[in-house]
Amino acid sequence: MPDAPGLELIAQELNATIDGAVLDTYFEHEQAALVVSPDRILDTLRWLRDTPGQEYHFLSSLHAADYLPGEPRFGVHYELLCMPRVERLRVKAALPDPGGEELPELDSCVKLFPTAEFQEREAYDLFGIAFRGHPDLRRILMPEDYVGWPQRRDFPMGGEPVLYTHNEVEMPRWWE
């Protein structure tokens, strides 16, 4: 786990190498996080993986989040792990909602971390985040013909009202 000064060092080195990569840093609950510009996400991940002294070779998790009504609305989180030093680093990319039927887009990191293939499909399936350059971007958990992005916050819960004897009156002809 890089500590707070270590995180700042990583951020400075990144900004010196890749112009405008790091937008913000967080250090909360002993966990380090970099907020990265979505355009620079691939360069950042490659730098963290390949630079001697960093060596975050392992992508332990990739997941998405919906921060509605926050702005920017979507976030894609990469949990990186350095196996030799057992250090974890979180990289976040914030994506604004393009609105309408359009999907927020982000570069796919399957070329860097092959494990991301299924996890990006899951983020696409549940949050509708389109990963540019993904080899096979289809739904993975929901049925192929499903419509909508069910884990988004504005997606209806689903389910049915439960019928008890006390609200039986409110649902006439319920048996049909």
Binding site: P156, M157, E160, H166, E168, V169, P172, R173
Partner: protein, 265 residues
């Protein structure tokens, strides 16, 4: 016997003929046709009569007496239902956490072999009973339906637990709200998950249904039709339309209780 041991006395008695009172007349006493023969002579006589019957030698009064002793009359449907109900082959098919309880059903502790259903088949072609043990997700529903369609008639289904009966706690986008939305279900077993005893109780209900004698719902069983909350003076009085709807519903359930096959447990 050693000091401190529990005392156990074993007495050997002759079972056959032991219950005959001392002063009973010898020879043939009035007995039920299927009783154990009282004496070895009587047993021998029965054997000889059976052999004569097979040869075709038995006639008249002798034949009548043999038929009375050796034959039980029943309807073919009843015999068939009895045989089917006591040799149900469930499908080895677990959906979720309820499957753990279903698995323990065949262990010696619960032992559904007592009811003749211990033979879990691995193929739907050989199975009679589909136990839906867990929530059915909308991606799994076509698979379950296909498995049910692959089973040979006659076939039955038990929806085990809250999830497969109504969706249960999973009131969300991914789970079918009740398995009877896409396939027929004979018995719903409540619980989350139901204990194996509850599933055995549901299975016994299914057995009675297979034998053409289904259990009525509780309102019919306790003669309680008309005791719904609104009828007892609930919060709101139903409108005329709702009143008609209730009348129709009660007629529906009354019909369902009289004809086998349309009433769940």
């Amino acid at each position: 016997m050693a000091q401190g041991c529990a005392g156990l006395e074993v007495r050997r008695e002759k079972l056959r003929g032991g219950r005959r009172p001392e002063g009973a007349p010898s020879g043939r006493s009035p007995r039920a046709p299927l009783d154990e023969p009282a004496t070895p002579e009587e047993f021998r006589a029965r054997q000889l009569r059976a052999r004569d019957l097979l040869r075709g030698d038995l006639e008249g009064r002798e034949l009548e007496r043999h038929v009375e002793e050796a034959v039980v009359a029943t309807r073919f449907e009843r015999a068939l239902g009895w045989a089917r109900a006591n040799s149900v082959f469930p499908l080895t098919f677990g959906l979720a956490c309820c499957a753990i309880e279903m698995i323990s059903l065949v262990t010696p502790r619960y032992d559904i072999a007592r009811f003749g259903a211990e033979n879990m088949r691995a193929s739907p072609r050989q199975a009679d009973l589909l136990i839906l043990s867990g929530r059915v997700s909308i991606k799994m529903a076509p698979v379950v339906r296909r498995i049910y369609d692959q089973m040979l008639e006659p076939k039955w289904a038990i929806a085990m637990g809250a999830c497969s009966s109504s969706g249960g706690m999973f009131a969300n986008y991914a789970v079918v709200q009740g398995a009877d939305k896409f396939m027929p279900v004979d018995v719903h077993v409540p619980g989350c998950p139901p204990r194996p005893e509850a599933l055995i109780s549901g299975f016994n209900k299914l057995q009675r249904k297979i034998q053409g004698n289904p259990d009525p719902g509780w309102r019919q069983r306790y003669n309680a039709i008309g005791t719904e909350e609104w009828a007892r003076g609930g919060a709101t009085e139903p409108t005329q339309e709702e009143r008609d709807a209730y009348t129709a519903a009660r007629e529906l359930t009354r019909e369902g209780s009289s004809s086998p096959g349309s009433d769940g447990a």
